[in-house]
């Protein structure tokens, strides 16, 4: 039998997705623990996730500075001692600051957990933000900011977020002078109010026998108490700017960074999975309309894509790229064309079925290991959703009709209503 090289092999669409669900327990101090037990390797990832304190425009950097400096010293350990302990046991300690939450993450082999956990306990219970470390932090951050400000895509993101979200955690882009508003006393007070058990969610993923779980609960239950004042995790409302067009000229630029988009719904909205399908068609995968036209046909860019962000108070849909400075206007014209096309014409059935399969495959592929299952859970939990969200998502991806997407395009993909930011030449 001759080989049929021109004909694609048979394939199967993905029917359903199996997600690992966590075991849950609530400690007496109010801290919730979610536990994902799976995998062969004798290791764990543990995350301590805290809701961010309310944004204060006068002291805009408190949330991020407090989080970043958690590894810089406690009542009993210096920054150097913290680093020594973590590294000696082959562990990885990370602090991460996000729009809605800040977190501490520990990756540790199970056999060393008894030595690494007490360091975390110390950090989230008794960080002291030593004056000298604060000075170093400020100086180094200011220097890094100077380098970042030379990158067009970085500047574009800042200008865009500020225009879309105003004086909030979402719109914040630090200026060198903002670092002068950082004072140790404020940081300590912020820390005490935010980093307490009642504002903490612990997510454990890995190979978790009973003794590992007990080690965690024993460390973070009895000795860890709440502050007299609850964390204030309410946030000021979004403040989108009236001006929609921003150009930062860089006369020497070889490329211009373009970022444009609109405030949109977040994951809690029933239309969110629908909009994800539309976003995928527009710019969410390699074969997307933007990529095929602006990279693969015109060669204006190394990459272009669209994305969606979902956070507590809302969301956004945006397009981002860096294009040759001489083709910046042409690229924007093509972006507008692609948006209008989605508004004016239904997506052809072939393309839509490809996108359906791609999205389901991509969801399946994103579940690489037990850590990814925990990540999927966090998306749900912090949006106040249940696992039926993913059932709904799978169902929407399988069944969404072209006219629904066209209707959605008319609601969200209006080029004239987009915020548009250009850094470089226009």
């Amino acid at each position: 039998m001759t080989l049929q090289r021109k004909k694609a092999p048979e394939f199967r669409a993905i029917d359903h997705i199996n997600l690992i669900r966590p075991a849950h327990q609530k400690l007496d101090n109010g801290c919730n623990i979610f536990c994902f037990n799976s995998g062969d390797q004798e290791l764990v990832r543990i995350e301590w996730i805290f809701g961010n304190q309310r944004f204060d425009a006068v002291k805009p950097l408190l949330n991020i500075a407090v989080n970043t400096m958690l590894t810089e010293g406690t009542g009993s350990l210096t920054a150097a001692q913290i680093a020594d302990k973590v590294d000696f046991y082959g562990a990885f300690l990370q602090v991460d600051y996000g729009y809605d939450h800040s977190q501490v993450t520990l990756y540790s082999l199970n056999k060393h957990l008894q030595h690494t956990l007490p360091v975390i306990y110390d950090i989230i219970n008794d960080s002291i933000f030593p004056e000298k470390e604060l000075e170093t932090f400020i100086r180094n951050q200011q220097q890094k900011l100077q380098v970042s400000m030379q990158k067009n895509d970085f500047v574009a993101r800042r200008v865009f977020n500020k225009a879309m979200f105003g004086a909030t955690l979402y719109g914040l882009g630090a200026d060198p002078d903002d670092y002068k508003t950082l004072h140790r006393e404020d940081m300590l007070a912020h820390f005490k109010q935010m980093y307490q058990p009642s504002n903490c969610t612990i997510v454990i993923a890995g190979k978790i026998e009973q003794d590992i779980l007990e080690l965690v609960t024993n460390t973070f239950d009895k000795g860890w108490t709440n502050s007299p004042v609850n964390a204030d995790t309410t946030q000021p409302g979004l403040q989108p700017a009236t001006e929609h067009f921003y150009l930062t000229e860089k006369p020497d630029a070889l490329q211009s960074a373009i970022r444009m988009g609109i405030p949109a719904i977040n994951r809690t909205h029933p239309d969110f999975p629908l909009l994800q399908v539309l976003n995928t068609v527009l710019g969410g995968y390699f074969g997307s309309r933007l990529m095929v036209n602006i990279r693969e046909d015109k060669g204006y860019t190394y990459g272009i894509g669209s994305g969606m962000a979902s956070f507590k108070q809302g969301g956004s849909l945006f397009i981002a790229t860096e294009v040759g400075a001489d083709v910046c206007k042409a690229a924007i014209t093509e972006i507008e064309k692609e948006l209008n096309l989605l508004r004016n014409e239904p997506i052809p059935a072939e393309e839509l079925s490809l996108v359906r399969n791609f999205m389901l495959g991509s969801l399946l592929g994103s579940l690489e290991n037990v850590f990814s299952h925990a990540d999927k859970f966090k998306n749900l939990y912090f949006a106040g959703l249940d696992y039926d969200y993913y059932d709904r998502y799978v169902n929407v991806v399988k069944t969404v009709a072209a006219d629904q997407l066209q209707e959605l395009a008319n609601r969200y993909l209006n080029f004239d209503q987009f915020y548009k930011v250009i850094v470089g030449k226009y």
């Binding site: 590294d87 220097q143 030379q150 860096e322 690489e368």
Partner: protein, 413 residues
Amino acid sequence: MVKFNRFTLENGLRVIVHEDNTTPMAVLNILYDVGARDEDPGQTGFAHLFEHLMFGGSVNIPSYDEPLQRVGGENNAFTSNDITNYYITLPSANIETAFWLESDRMLSLAFSKKSLEVQRNVVIEEFKQRYLNQPYGDVWLKLRPMVYKKHPYQWATIGKEIKHIEDAKIEDVKAFFKKHYNPQNAIMVVGGDVKTEDVKKLAEKWFGPIPAGEKYHRNLQQEPEQHEERRATVTAKVPLNDVYIAFLMGDRLDKSYYIAELMSDILSRGNSSRLYRNLVKEKQLFSEVHAYMTGSLDKGMFVFEGKPTENVSIETAEAAIWEELERIKTEEIPADELTKVKNKIESTTIFSEMSLLDKAMNLASFELLGDAEMINHETDKYLEVSAEQIKALANQLFRKDNSTTLIYLAEIS
């Protein structure tokens, strides 16, 4: 421990199968034994440009990406100075689509002129985005030719200059394909929710009929030892001064590779490392400073890179780095410090086994080095390294006359 099975097709294609039934996915990774080091000095950047063209349709299949996306798959590729690596992840039920696509482009490309024209532009934009339009982005374009006088590592994967990419012709593309893209020059790893027997059948079916082609015999001029201090200073539109010091080191198969990696960990891995602790935190001379090695297959570079804090002179900054080098050359390394970096190697290895794609890529790389089984003995090689060996290697590498220093001075506006 990464278990695998191995077989070779008659046409010379080496195939490795790693069964991992904890995932519903499969990975198909193909490493081609060709990188920027195999390029003509007058046609640099070609291996990487060629990688882009591999997505421009093959002899029987006009679009590579579309049929893959249709079965829920994703793919990407990268080119380095040594290799070009292509990978697909997809639901394991659809693994045959990956065989179909990859075998057809190993058989022959479509050699579309339109694709060449567009990808030339795309790669030129990539050149600008990553190397020219970023502060310090052109460092490797400047540093490589200072360190390598003979060996083709003197140019970066992206190429020496944009003109080389502009000049690429379809005939060059065809010749490059013929020379490098055939079963004998490739290693395929299939991993995930698959069975070796099935992979064998699919490999025979789709790859078996591809002609073996000619084996490419690499014969590169190796970089001679360096016996002179090299130095350059550039003034650039960058916000901060920046210091780079590169030392020529051994190749990937040299025993010193493992010693060098532990040495770079002692110097620069994590917040407990020497450079960070002493130069950033204690002496406050740098806002950031790092040491790392390029890890190339032929003789590599051991690089130091740091941005001095404001008001710290370049001389002071350089002297501070050399002081740390003197320390590691002369002082005993405390046992705890060596244990620390070894523990980190051990945990990194275990964590890397959480990723199917990482395992597949690593198996292919080790097979290229000589034996995929090396993947399971790496940790032991690190554990065997002694403090004396590190000290000896430091003395061998960190000599002024083996150093190449590149200084970026911020233009005062």
